[in-house]
């Protein structure tokens, strides 16, 4: 049984915007699944329909076999949601917020108090439990929403940009936390603008653009399809301009750093031979990690070229603009 199964799901808003155009999607039980797409692609609408915050126009969806029309209560009992926007009562305390949320899922108050302590401690919010939530920092508010979503120990956890505005240290510890939840059996669907996050955490991926799924694959299979990789070279001596390396796309990031794109069929020896011939000494080299970013841009741009451009001045994920500038041509 799939954790989530969606068939022909469509949504047209009253203003005529077609947010979803007949989406089919399966998310396996236990998966850590990335749902990516530019702003306005339909991700939040899809999540909204699954969690019953948005009425669908057509199609069907089921959560662990419970249809969201016929067995809505059972379907919703399986889901924990961390929304994109802060949506708790700012005048209540974190402790009250999570305990009440458990109550809405039928968790007795005594059990809810125990769980509140457990999750608030795990998410490093226990010290703040009795303060007004409005006073929490942005990262704390995000963590509070994760704690709230876990209070009924859902089988499917949907995270809509959970680490937006969270500093790197906290983000990394949240990644560990989410990995652990997933390892214990909770299916996770993640939408994020940090493509590194999706690449690091998720095993399967769907890319949505213009209200359609434009790609659905294993993360590893998708990344293998990338024909070009980018390497970052640290130089011993400073350079004023990027050296001419015929056949390679080269960019001078700063006077000691070069980025070079290399086709997967090409040998790296050729680059070093040419750099050596130019008298440029390389101290170290690393692979640039945002490979998913590059695939993402190719797919989204291909869709945009087909007339399904992101709507309403849609923004692209962090770093995607750079990738577009570097790559230029779709595979």
């Amino acid at each position: 049984m799939n954790a989530l199964s969606v068939r022909g799901l469509s949504k047209t808003y009253r203003n005529g915007v077609e947010a979803l155009r007949g989406i089919d999607l399966d998310v396996e039980r236990g998966d850590f699944f990335a749902l990516l797409g530019p702003n306005g692609a339909g991700k939040t609408t899809l999540i909204g329909i699954i969690t019953s915050l948005v009425n669908k126009s057509g199609g069907s969806a089921s959560v662990f076999g419970h249809d969201i029309e016929g067995e809505l209560e059972a379907a919703k009992a399986c889901i924990g949601i961390v929304p994109q926007e802060i949506n708790f009562n700012m005048f209540e305390t974190p402790f009250t917020i999570v305990v009440n949320q458990a109550g809405f899922y039928g968790i007795p108050r005594a059990v809810a108090r125990e769980r509140a302590e457990k999750y608030l401690k795990q998410l490093q919010l226990w010290e703040k439990r009795n303060g007004i939530s409005r006073g929490l920092s942005g990262g704390m508010k995000r963590r509070l929403m994760i704690a709230r979503a876990l209070m009924h120990e859902p089988r499917l956890l949907i995270l809509d940009e959970p680490t937006a505005g969270v500093d790197i240290e906290i983000r990394r510890s949240m990644w560990d936390f989410l990995r652990e939840i997933n390892a214990r059996g909770t299916t996770i669907i993640l939408t994020t603008h940090y493509l590194e996050e999706a690449e690091t955490l998720c095993r399967n991926i769907a890319i949505i653009s213009g209200g359609r799924i434009v790609e659905r694959d294993r993360m590893s299979s998708l990344l293998r399809r990338l024909h070009v990789e980018t390497f970052v070279l640290n130089l011993r001596e400073p350079l004023a301009v990027a050296p001419p390396l015929a056949g390679y796309l080269v960019r001078l990031v700063d006077d000691h750093t070069l980025e070079v794109e290399v086709s997967k069929e090409e040998s790296l020896n050729g680059i070093f031979a040419r750099l050596t011939a130019l008298g440029i000494e390389v101290l170290s080299m690393r692979n640039k990690v945002n490979r998913l970013e590059e695939i993402f841009m190719q797919l989204v741009e291909a869709r945009a070229g087909a007339g399904d451009a992101p709507r309403n001045g849609a923004a692209l994920p962090a770093g995607a603009g750079r990738a577009a500038a570097r790559l230029g041509t779709p595979t």
Partner: protein, 269 residues
């Protein structure tokens, strides 16, 4: 950050979920009422003191008896009911619209609670505030006058049904309201005039025929008089009809609120 949720599929006992969910909404509403008691309880107490001091003690002396009762005694049930109506309505409209405005209504909308439990929970929250304020204003009344109690069950039933009816009215108002102005329109331009013309301060028998006939179209007249009958044993309307009207109003408003929630009116795209 470490260690989390178990994920086995325990059977979902929907009735247990609904009952605990309902209680949680009521507890949350009670917490809100107590947390901001300066806004929820105190104003009605102050208003009641002013009414008793001015209309009861100063002007009331010149008015004399009304339906055989001292004027302060006569207006006391009406003043209590006026507070109940205002506060039941105000509690639900403010709380539910606040939840919509702050988006924390989504906590309930994504939960497995059916809409009738959500509506019932908010209406019960209105009832809690109506009763708390009703008790507070009754205590104020007892400072100014003696209040006989003829029919306890009638008092309790009228209090319950009126609170529920106006709590549900407040819920509908909040459902349709798109801004804070629209939250205040109904209380200011509908509820207050109907309450003042609903027999709180006078018997409709004092009115000319046309005004009396018009008053019988005012549902608040029935609620105030049923409540007054419970205390004083006198009423301008048939008490049985008053209870039929209150029960029907509560049932119709509840069905309407649940139906609109099911359609997603005012809460879902």
């Amino acid at each position: 950050m470490s260690s989390v949720a178990g994920t086995t599929a325990a059977p979902i006992r929907l009735n247990v979920v609904r009952w605990i969910g309902f209680k949680t909404i009521v507890i949350r509403e009670y917490g809100r009422i107590i947390r901001i008691w300066g806004q929820t309880i105190v104003p009605s107490v102050v208003t009641a003191v002013l009414y008793f001091a001015i209309f009861g003690s100063l002007i009331g002396r010149r008015v004399g008896a009304m339906d055989g009762f001292d004027y302060k005694q006569y207006i006391a049930p009406g003043l209590i009911m006026m507070s109940v109506i205002t506060n039941s309505y105000g509690n639900v409209v403010a709380s539910f619209f606040g939840a919509k405005f702050g988006k924390h209504v989504e906590e309930l909308l994504v939960s497995p609670l059916p809409n009738w439990v959500i509506v019932g929970g908010y209406a019960a929250g209105g009832l809690v505030r109506g009763v708390l304020v009703g008790v507070a204003v009754t205590l104020v009344s007892l400072v100014f006058t003696h209040l006989p109690l003829q029919h306890l069950l009638v008092v309790l039933a009228a209090l319950l049904l009126t609170s529920l009816t106006f709590g549900l009215g407040g819920f509908l108002n909040a459902l349709f309201a798109k801004n804070f102005d629209q939250v205040n329109w109904i209380p200011s331009f509908v509820l207050t005039p109907l309450t003042y013309f609903g027999g709180v301060f006078y018997s409709v028998n004092l009115l000319p025929e046309w005004a009396r006939s018009l008053s019988y179209a005012n549902p608040i007249l029935y609620m105030v008089n049923a409540f007054r009958f419970g205390f004083l044993g006198v009423s301008d309307v048939d008490v049985g009809s008053a209870f039929a009207l209150m029960t029907a109003s509560a049932v119709v408003l509840f069905a309407l609120a649940v139906g609109l929630m099911n359609r997603g009116a005012g809460i879902r795209e």
